[in-house]
């Protein structure tokens, strides 16, 4: 039986396109076993959420922000500070982190959206740097350059398994469950009428306005949701590392999430996941060889912008569109959201 017969491919791709989320879930469930160490997989999940959140604003709505580290960092610090200084429970601290990031997104978003294009990018960067500056100099509260250490750890038992960052595999699946919830929420969001209208703003803002879309409101919404997921990723990061460093607010972190999203494929659902995976994998390998990982990131960035603007997943989709038989089916799964 020829496994590669057209019919089999068609059936398989049919299934995939109808249930792309299941496919992604399957990949993510198996992910730790393909990595040299599980914590890499966990980090990938966290950054995938960050990148997905960023993608809502960058890829879907078409707004370039250079300051998303602000929300990641606020989520991280929010949770960290709540645990360290106030001894809240893990759940409450998590919520505090996420809320802090979301509220900041409302505030900064409102101000930043008064500007357009490059100004917008710069304002977002400026806000993030201001926060960095604040965190860096508030030694008593945030530990300054040393970072916030000795953060209380998550530790609970479920079905006899203890979930704590000290145990990589159970912790991975814990993070995975949260990730899957995020995926479902994102999927529904991006497929909803509101989600679709994001694309209209990206494609032609003035026409969207003329068709009755409140673009100011929708942009702010996109900004806030984007901040929400970035903050969530930040809080998870704190849970994972038990440590928060001002670098999470630093512009390089913003730069990394842009690269991940760009590399994976802006404006596609799966792009950020792919981008986060490839990025972390590369970082892991290259940092082992040299200290100048940043140099590589920057170059990768530039090359992506010039030669590869649709990213890996974007290129795959484009390629599939040419192979019509497989293309119509597989790409339509993602097209439903993309277009």
């Amino acid at each position: 039986m020829n496994i590669l017969s057209g019919k089999h491919i068609r059936n398989f791709c049919d299934f995939l396109s109808k249930h792309p989320i299941y496919m992604l879930s399957l990949i993510l469930i198996l992910l730790p076993f393909s990595m040299s160490y599980t914590s890499l997989a966990t980090q990938i999940l966290i950054y995938a959420i960050f990148a997905s959140g960023y993608n809502i604003l960058f890829g879907y709505t078409g707004l370039v922000s250079f300051g998303h580290s602000a929300y990641f960092g606020l989520g991280a610090y929010g949770m960290g500070l709540a645990l360290y200084h106030f001894n809240f429970s893990q759940g409450v601290a998590f919520l505090i982190g996420v809320m802090l990031a979301t509220l900041a997104a409302m505030f900064f978003g409102y101000l930043s959206l008064k500007t357009r294009g490059p100004y917008f990018a710069m304002i977002t960067l400026a806000f993030a740097q201001a926060l960095y500056f604040l965190a860096f100099h508030s030694y008593k509260i945030t530990g300054g350059d040393d970072g916030l250490r000795n953060i209380p750890m998550l530790d609970f038992r479920i079905f006899g398994i203890s979930v704590t960052p000290l145990k990589p595999l159970p912790f991975y699946y814990f993070v995975l469950i949260i990730t899957l919830i995020c995926i479902v929420v994102l999927w529904r969001l991006l497929n909803s009428p509101l989600g679709r209208s994001l694309a209209s703003i990206r494609e032609n803002e003035s026409r969207a306005l003329a068709c009755g879309i409140d673009i100011k409101g929708v942009k702010l919404f996109a900004f806030v949701i984007s901040g929400f997921f970035s903050g969530l990723a930040g809080a998870l990061n704190t849970m994972f590392h038990l440590f928060v460093h001002p670098e999470s607010l630093y512009w390089t972190t913003s730069g990394h999430v842009v690269v991940m999203t760009l590399l994976g494929g802006t404006g596609t659902f799966f792009g950020p996941f792919l981008g986060a995976g490839v990025f972390m994998f590369l970082q892991d390998r290259i940092s082992a060889i040299t200290e100048s990982w940043q140099l590589f990131v920057g170059l990768l960035f530039v090359l992506c912008v010039i030669f590869f603007p649709v990213g890996i997943w974007g290129s795959i989709l484009a390629l599939f569109r040419r192979i019509t038989l497989v293309g119509n089916v597989l790409s339509s799964g993602d097209e439903r959201i993309r277009s």
Binding site: L111, K114, M122, G255
Partner: protein
Amino acid sequence: MTGLVLGGILALVASGFVLVFGMMDIINFAHGIFFALGSYFAYTSLSLIGNFWIALLVVPFAVGIVGFATEYLMLRPLAGRAPTYSLLATFGFTLAAIQAIRLIWGKTGLPFTTPDSLIGATDLGVVIFPTYRLFVIIVTGGIIISLWLFIEKTSLGSIIRAGTADSLMAQALGINIARVWSLVFALGCALAGVAGVLAAPMQGVYAEMGLTIIIECFVIVVVAGLGSIKGAVISSLMIGTTVSIATLIYSPMANVVIFLLMIVVLLIRPAGLFGTRA
């Protein structure tokens, strides 16, 4: 008066930035890197040659050449695309460049001493002012005036102005736009480079200065509104003065003042104080 010093430096950087944007519709996020290169090249040439004055003359050219190469290699391929691309590309370039600077010159900041002939203070009658800073004010003022004269009065300058207004039209008139663009870009970078040389003795030389200055540059541009170099210059002086005053009152607050100013302007007049372009 210290405000004039800071303002002058910022004005140089901002002018270069607005020049490039006005002419080529390129948001050069990496503009700060050329500022940093100015300082770093000056450091290197100083340790090689030992003469500040030579450095002051030569370094801007060197920076201009790097700028020329950057434009040719990285920005030319992006010519037809939306400005977002050049923004992103120069952002990535900045990431890489700061790391490259660290690799070449080391991670720690470098010391840069004030040139001997300019050490000390001058008595201006009303106030005694550090000689070097006085020198900076004079030089930056001189350069800005020369720049203005160049753009307003020379034929090359009018080409630049024509290109700024309508590059398509200028091309139709047979002006080799690509060459002019490269020149303008190099000029913009050179301006940043000069500012870098001048700033080195005052604030030291460190890898991150490329980022710090570009953020300040952008705040200036937001406050001024992207349109004219004049607006950028005035705005730079304003901000320079404000920051200096703030530093006198409470040093760490200085940086915050910039952000506050930006927020205020955003709320009141999003188009900027002198904004002419959307």
